[in-house]
Symmetry: C2
Subunit: 345 residues, 2 copies
């Protein structure tokens, strides 16, 4: 983009294209400013921290909502999102869709196909769609996704939908921080039930058996019910627990989507009533703060003028030459750092 | 296992079942000790750090070799490993296979099937097979895999083979740290070529087009050659660069496996000659040391008596109430920590 400007223009960027100028435009709902700020945050471009700080108080409004939708590839998530978002639109809600693709070298093709299905939503000004990718920084996608949600909310969108491609750990991390998590399965994914025991049970607030028109859906629902039976009606503190409903629907036929919307709204009411929404928000802010502190500390230690850098090569050589084990060497390094009073004074 | 002992036996474990007792048995090639120590490391059980320190000087011998084998599900990796390992065995080399499965809730079924194919190797005392799983700790599998390799090497195995299930980022992290990386594709995985541009190009030392008996293999090879053409024959420093060979084979028919073994040996000779083996080893040790220091630091900051814990809630409340942005709050926390002289004295 800088190519459009003569070099001298870079020294004093016009207020409207500087990061904080873009933030002003964001608050007015400017979609191009939103797109550019999302790129800035995704790329960790200069000033992205100030942008998020400026945006923060205007995001995560009490009435804003974050929805996570996950499930195995081929479960029909994109079509389902399309149908569901239309329902939100009929109520006048503005929706931002963040499609989260942990970059796997072998999924390039499928992803594009999925996205095309949502094409029709692109003509709707009340809908914003954006793909986010990891670009190799493992574990980064969940952080970027929730920072992106801050921008989308600050631009005035009422609902943020995180849609994932697969169901790896990264995807679980992305949707886990949403207010409501919808897990989409198909009648064919019989092994899913077996698999649920391993991980998705804990994070699902609503189960959907999609493609119910293809038969086998009832058996899938029964299997899920069986798997969910051990869930308690109360949590350890005696509070009423949420029982994830299991819904059959057909996204392509647009059947059963109303019931899904009702289930999502019921869960929303539940977490508001139980104070869980505030708890989720707190957990998200805590995760963000923790990440920033750890990143800053890493810089302070290993950066060009980092405290550890001077001693690092020595410790490494000790380990390489077998004079000390890696844990013993790390402990010695830490002891030095901590002796230098790594404490609040 | 503790169930076999009366409770009082736990207070003074016999030397041979204490962690360091198990290490002694490990050095004598005791497979049961190896299995138990692998569990200890995988679970981060008590004393695992001392175990790895004790094992470290006996692992990563100059003649030990680490091989990474990755590729999309269904490419026939397990069969290929089976055939390849038989070749190593004929030369009297002892082989440890670490099957690395980043736990995805939806792969439960396939994994077991793959493993069964290697069943025949299980009767061979010169082969050790073990599955490693992440159990939810993102990014942890690569660390655990290479710690496990230390144990396997210390038990006297000459070659460690990392075999991955899929090709996500976690798998890339696992094999990337190996001495030689073999990427297994099939003629059907035409999209793989497109995908190679995205990530696997950089880490592959040898390409295999498996299932060559099914036709289409020549086209796949040509497409790979085209994709690899931009690779330079020299790196930026003018050193001779390695050009990944592309091999057709059929693992099920046991055809072409000799050529693969030769290619692996050629790469081994190359990295030894160019000093790359020492470089790879150094990178692995550095990654381990860094992880341990960061983990220790995290404890020192956020642990029960951590330096940050006292100020944490205050900073969090500031952010939650909108008094400060998350980055500004983190910066203030860091400034306090660093003011307290986070420097080597």
């Amino acid at each position: 983009m800088s190519a459009q400007h003569p070099p001298q223009a870079q020294a004093a960027p016009s207020p409207s294209t500087s990061p904080l100028g873009l933030v002003e435009r964001l608050f007015q709902g400017d979609v191009r400013a939103l797109a550019r700020l999302l790129s800035l945050v995704e790329d960790r471009g200069p000033g992205y921290e100030r942008v998020l700080d400026a945006v923060f108080p205007h995001a995560q409004r009490a009435d804003a909502y974050r929805l996570g939708i996950t499930g195995p590839p081929g479960a029909g998530k994109s079509t389902l999102v399309d149908r569901l978002v239309r329902r939100f639109r009929r109520e006048g809600l503005r929706v931002g869709i963040l499609a989260c693709d942990p970059t796997s070298p072998f999924t390039g093709g499928a992803v594009l196909g999925d996205r095309v299905r949502m094409q029709s939503l692109r003509d709707d000004e009340g809908v914003f769609i954006r793909s986010l990718a990891t670009r190799g920084s493992l574990g980064g996608l969940a952080a970027v996704a929730h920072e992106a949600a801050l921008l989308v909310e600050a631009a005035g969108y009422d609902v943020v939908v995180f849609e994932t491609i697969g169901v790896g750990q990264v995807e679980v991390d992305v949707v886990e921080a949403a207010d409501t998590v919808v897990v989409v399965l198909t009648p064919q994914s019989g092994d899913a039930v077996q698999a649920l025991k391993a991980g998705l049970m804990e994070i699902a607030d609503v189960f959907v058996v999609n493609k119910a028109d293809q038969g086998g859906a009832d058996r899938a629902v029964q299997a899920l019910q069986l798997a969910l039976r051990p869930l308690q009606d109360q949590d350890e503190e005696g509070k009423k627990a949420w029982r994830p409903p299991i819904l059959k629907l057909s996204a392509t036929r647009d059947e059963g989507v109303e019931a899904l919307k009702a289930a999502i709204e019921a869960h929303r009411a539940f977490i508001n009533a139980e104070g869980l929404k505030a708890q989720k928000r707190r957990a998200r802010v805590e995760a963000l703060l923790r990440r920033v502190v750890e990143e800053g500390l890493r810089q302070a230690l290993w950066g060009d003028r980092g405290a550890l850098k001077a001693r690092w090569e020595e410790a490494l050589q000790q380990v390489l030459q077998g004079a000390r084990g890696p844990f013993a060497a790390a402990e010695a390094l830490l002891r030095e750092l901590l002796k230098a009073r790594l404490e609040v004074p």
